[in-house]
């Protein structure tokens, strides 16, 4: 039969020799292997006390960005929702009313913006698709919840705090 | 009453009660357990006679090996009161008559038997060193013959087990 891959290894099917049938040498070999592992470095990280450093390209929970004046950058163009392979993002657009210029940067903004963290695969395509630099993936995990509802993150959960308000506090 | 007598009475009472339990209990597993208890009390009697080797061998061979096999078979057959077939009446009468006859014979035989009083003081014959010397000096031929008997029984079992091949 022709091999399906180039990495095929032939299996040795010769009958066992007498030394192999004694079984004791192979037991000793196995015992030595496990004994060596006693002195190896432990792979476990003591989680709450010590945390493993994230890799520089780690993608975690999303945030919605504001500009330096504290206005929401998102213009509800929907490119992130289109880019999302898991279809985790839903949004509703609304028009900016006069007098709201200090809240929203563009004339159109997202009245509702939800990401379902159970669907999200944290691929970061939304981040790449966004023309306004409005959505970013941070370096935190989505925490656990008792209900599915808790995994649907709305605008209040995603928006970063207003930099101006922070200064006043 | 000395301590020995008290122990003897208690052991005898337990062994009689458990021996009755063997034949009176409906559940075969309980029967087997009663039998094991009987063996233990008899081993206790052996210890009282200063025959420790006999006591331990009694427990190893009977309670530890033979009764395990008994229990094994009974568990696999899963006998209980529901599956027990209805016994015929004449079988019950036959059993009662033959059992009664045996009782009469035993009573008749034991009526005239005199009980030789045991000499006081512990005998040393039950200790393992003395027993071994006796077995291998005075009784070496019967001992070896009985081992041949066991061997033939073993060969028979192997032959039965190998019959299919």
């Amino acid at each position: 039969m022709q091999a399906l891959t180039t990495r095929v290894k032939p299996v040795d099917r010769r009958p066992l020799t007498f030394v192999e049938r004694l079984y004791i040498p192979s037991i000793l070999k196995g015992m030595m292997i496990t004994f060596k592992h006693i002195f190896k470095k432990k792979a476990t990280v003591n989680y709450p006390e010590e945390k493993r450093p994230f890799s520089p390209v780690f993608r975690g929970l999303h945030i919605l960005n504001r500009d330096e004046e504290g206005r929401e950058r998102c213009t509800a163009c929907g490119l992130c929702a289109v880019a999302c392979p898991a279809e985790a993002i839903t949004m509703e657009a609304a028009e900016r009313k006069p007098g709201e210029e200090n809240l929203y940067r563009e004339e159109k903004y997202a009245a509702r913006y939800e990401i379902n963290m159970l669907r999200c695969i944290f691929c970061g395509f939304c981040e790449e698709a966004c023309p306004k630099d409005a959505i970013y993936l941070t370096e935190t995990f989505a925490p656990a919840h008792y209900e599915r509802k808790g995994f649907i993150y709305g605008k209040p959960d995603l928006l970063i705090p207003d930099p101006k308000e922070k200064q006043t506090v | 009453m000395s301590t020995q007598q008290i122990i003897f009475l208690v052991l005898s009472a337990i062994s009689l009660a458990s021996a009755m339990g063997v034949i009176l209990s409906k559940n075969p597993v309980t029967s087997v357990l009663c039998l094991i208890l009987t063996f233990f009390t008899i081993a206790g009697h052996y210890v009282m006679l200063n025959a420790q080797f006999l006591a331990v061998v009694h427990i190893i061979v009977y309670a530890g090996a033979i009764m395990v096999l008994f229990l094994f078979v009974i568990m696999l057959m899963n006998l209980n009161a529901d599956v027990e077939p209805q016994k015929r009446n004449w079988l019950k009468y036959a059993g009662a008559i033959s059992g009664g006859t045996l009782l009469v014979i035993m009573v008749a035989a034991l009526r005239d038997a005199s009980m030789p009083s045991l000499q006081g003081g512990a005998t040393e014959i039950g200790l393992i060193a003395n027993l071994g010397k006796t077995l291998f000096h005075e009784y070496v031929v019967p001992f070896e013959v009985s081992s041949v008997l066991f061997l033939s029984a073993m060969v028979g079992a192997v032959v039965i087990g190998k019959k299919e091949d």
Partner: protein, 343 residues
């Protein structure tokens, strides 16, 4: 009749001491097992409850006590409860004849650190061990569960099969020592070489059979999780399950003590009589030496468990009947021949 009350108190104290020791060691064996498993698998093991997780056995015990007690409706109620009790009782009984140390002299009284020095010590152990299977069989049958029954049948046939080889390997040792008392055997090794030098093959057979008798990997077929959903204690919960698990660890402890006493000199250690220490100090050091040997054996039990996979059932039986028993017989013949030649 004069009753020696001091003697009774002395023995009672010794018995409770030995029992407490067995239970304590069994408790910490569970911790040790998890630690050994962890370090062999490059993990850390329990380290949350107390320093290095040393309070973990207490937490586990407490958990077992407070778990719901479930007795299946269609089980044989009395036997269901009797099973774990018998397992525990038998496991604790063996420790009576093991010499834990030499003689302590307190206020002019000679106190041997052995509960009972009977002249058939090894046979006693053998008898008690052969009863150990009842706990498993009763529990497995009384649960009224096919898997438990299968496991208990396996356990019974396995233990009976390996008992034979165990006994035969011991006979070779007894031919050599000429005594059935464990104390005598240890004393002989104190003044001569350890028995492992004279009986290496016998020791290996004894070791393998001890693994099988304790239902330890690679012979843990009665509790093969992936075939039997857990084994003979499948229907057990709460402390009754705890008793079964505990009995297994006590059996391990006792067989370690037995192997140390029979083949590795028991409480004797090199230089015991030549150092010129006080007799009581030597006794205590001897106990420590025995304990260290036992702990090494316990570690060995665990090390093997996390190395060697389980045997198949036919392989187990073939190993027991076709290899171990003939080997033990050969060992007996060789020992007999050597004893004859030296006379």
């Amino acid at each position: 009749m004069v009753i020696d009350w001091v003697f009774i108190v002395e023995k009672l104290a010794l018995i409770s001491g030995v029992l407490a020791l067995s239970l304590g060691v069994a408790m910490y064996s569970t911790w040790g097992e998890r630690k050994v498993a962890a370090i062999i698998q490059d993990r850390r093991g329990p380290n949350r409850a107390g320093f290095m997780g040393l309070l973990q056995p207490l937490a586990d015990g407490g958990k077992l006590f407070f778990k719901e007690e479930i007795i299946p409706t269609n089980s044989h109620r009395f036997l269901f409860i009797l099973g774990p009790s018998v397992a525990m009782l038998v496991a604790c009984m063996t420790s009576a004849v093991i010499p834990w140390g030499d003689v302590l002299t307190i206020a002019g009284r000679q106190i041997p650190l052995q509960v009972a020095d009977i002249n058939i010590g090894i046979l006693y152990i053998f008898g008690v061990v052969s009863l150990g299977v009842y706990g498993i069989m009763l529990g497995g049958w009384a649960s009224n569960n096919k898997f438990s029954l299968l496991a208990s049948v396996r356990a019974a046939s396995q233990i009976i099969s390996y008992e034979l080889a165990l006994g035969l390997s011991l006979i070779a040792l007894l031919m050599f020592t000429g005594s059935l008392s464990l104390k005598d055997i240890v004393e002989q090794q104190r003044h001569g070489l350890w028995n492992i030098v004279y009986q290496p093959l016998g020791f290996i057979i004894f070791l393998v059979c001890a693994f099988a008798e304790c239902n330890r990997t690679p012979f843990d077929l009665p509790e093969a999780e992936n075939e039997l959903n857990g084994g003979y204690h499948l229907e057990y919960s709460s402390m009754k399950l705890g008793f079964y698990l505990f009995a297994e660890y006590i059996n391990m402890f006792i067989s370690s003590a037995l192997m140390a006493s029979l083949y590795f000199g028991g409480y004797s250690f090199p230089g015991m009589d030549s150092l010129g220490l006080a007799p009581n100090l030597v006794t205590i050091l001897g106990f420590v030496a025995l304990f260290i040997k036992i702990l090494l054996f316990l570690f060995f039990f665990m090390w093997v468990r996390w190395t060697i996979p389980r045997f198949r059932y036919d392989q187990l039986m073939r190993l027991g009947w076709n290899i171990m028993i003939p080997l033990a017989l050969v060992n007996m013949l060789i020992t007999g021949a050597i004893i004859l030649a030296r006379q």
